[in-house]
Amino acid sequence: MRMRLVWTAGLVACSGLSGSVLANGWNMPVGVTDVSREIHSLHMTIFWICVVIGVVVFGAMFYSLFRYRRSRGAKAANFHEHTTVEVIWTLIPILILVAMAIPATATLKTMYDTSEADLDVMVTGQQWRWRYDYLGEDVAFTSNLATARSQVSGESAKQENYLLEVDEPLVLPVDRKVRLLMTSDDVIHSWWVPDLAVKQDAVPGFVNENWVRINEPGIYRGQCAELCGRDHAFMPVVVKAVEPERFDAWLAERKEAAAQEAMGVDREWELDELMERGEQVYGTICASCHQPDGSGSPPAFPALAGNQAILDDPDYHIDTVVNGVSGSAMPAFRSTLNPVELAAVITYERNAWGNETGEAIQPAEIAELLDEQ
């Protein structure tokens, strides 16, 4: 008797908890695309099918547990086979599964139809950031975690979008079909935004595709879903969906800004200016491996503070940052950072944390190097 009470209470508590939890937004999000809605409805359908089967099966089980206890004087019957019953309870699940497979197949076919996209975006996973190329538009940028390290370590309070905020989100137009091409520079990553129901692995050397047509403007957040090394938890995805007109304006603005930054290459930069810009770049790009204080985490990530190899030889330093180190965790930044950013971050590394070379590496120098090298 006591046991039945415990079981019943447990069951009621569980179902009550799940009910309230599902109602409170702990379920899969409905999302903002037609596909995400379809997936959500598939999810809810199969969920309720499972609940119904569960109630029947567990109902029969707990009835037996209660009814046929020896302490209530139950005598064991002596049957052990019934082919008809067995065939029936094999056929019923098959029918349920077929019924489930039909809508699932339809949805899957929609998800695989990447044809006739209005915009192509190439998404490249890198340890540990995302790079977005608007194909054919000459707009490309990397998107880094924007949450301060002090929030991670607990030195400052965690803000609302802790670990789900980036310096530059992927901007996409609503009501247009966007094809997403996925690849990776190093290990396998997986680009995932729950509200868009897009999750696709980014495989080095191979290209995958997926697509999205967002119905409502807004900011949608997600994360890398495939274990990709140390900072797997720290490479979020943020998509900002805007009206098509605003998107076109944004794209034009980005092209303009890129041109502006290119202009900055030609002028002479002050050391302080470079240090300021460099600190910013270092914080988003380098600090995750080489640490905010330049101490690195040897042997994988060498210290930069007091590193004589780079301090004695500026060319070696520049080459390492620009071209990376083959077969190591050090990527080439020639295509992801512009000359101003490269010059600034190298200058910063040569003058921060007790490194006092006093040298300012000029953007023009880097630009020249990139051009001629």
Partner: protein, 195 residues
């Protein structure tokens, strides 16, 4: 007790063990055979979007004037290789059955000679079955002296049996260094660089 087994039993056991060992060896062979099998399977089904690494002959067939397919070209570099690879044409529109030629240029921006190869990948992956490359720089390694520039054509054809729902085919080339074998496995201590 082991000691009291009859000869019959021992023979039976030996026979069973022999059979399982045969199965075991068979599975070991099968495990390694899976690698070429996978390649064959991919070539037959276009599973992973890999294209043939040998020049193929032009399929002589009438050009399908009613269909237009957009062929996109994307080029990517890789860390530690100071090369650039550029497609002169970002995309071309072709009819299935028609052959077309596009040009790419390689440039070694580094101060040392190096060897690399452009590794292709096609999406949607099924399109790789219908993409015939008559000439391609991707069939062999390229060696470039410091500062050397090299232009190379890609001649290709999308055959008419390309599934009707494919309207855009994207061909991505990723440059991979081939000479200095990456220091894989030698440990993290050799990785990381200095900046």
């Amino acid at each position: 007790m082991v000691g009291q087994r009859s000869d019959d039993t021992r023979r039976e056991i030996r026979r069973t063990v022999a059979k399982t060992l045969v199965a075991l060896v068979g599975m070991c062979v099968f495990a390694f055979a899976l690698v070429p099998l996978y390649d064959v399977f991919c070539q037959v089904t276009g599973l992973n979007g890999k294209t043939s690494n040998q020049a193929q002959a032009l399929a002589h067939e009438a050009v399908d004037q009613d269909r237009v397919v957009t062929m996109q070209f994307i080029t990517r570099g890789s860390p530690g290789l100071p090369w650039s690879l550029e497609a002169h044409t970002r995309q071309v529109r072709v009819h299935p059955g028609q052959s077309a030629e596009v040009h790419f240029s390689f440039e070694n921006l580094g101060d040392q000679a190096s060897v690399a190869r452009a590794v292709p990948s096609v999406t949607p992956s099924q399109a790789s079955l219908h993409l015939r490359k008559l000439a391609c720089f991707c069939f062999q390694n390229q060696r470039l002296a410091p500062g050397e520039r090299f232009e190379a054509p890609l001649v290709f054809q999308l055959t008419r049996d390309l599934p009707a729902d494919i309207k855009t085919v994207t061909l991505v080339y990723t440059l991979y260094r081939q000479d200095a074998a990456p220091s894989r496995g030698k440990g993290t201590s050799t990785r990381g660089g200095d900046a």
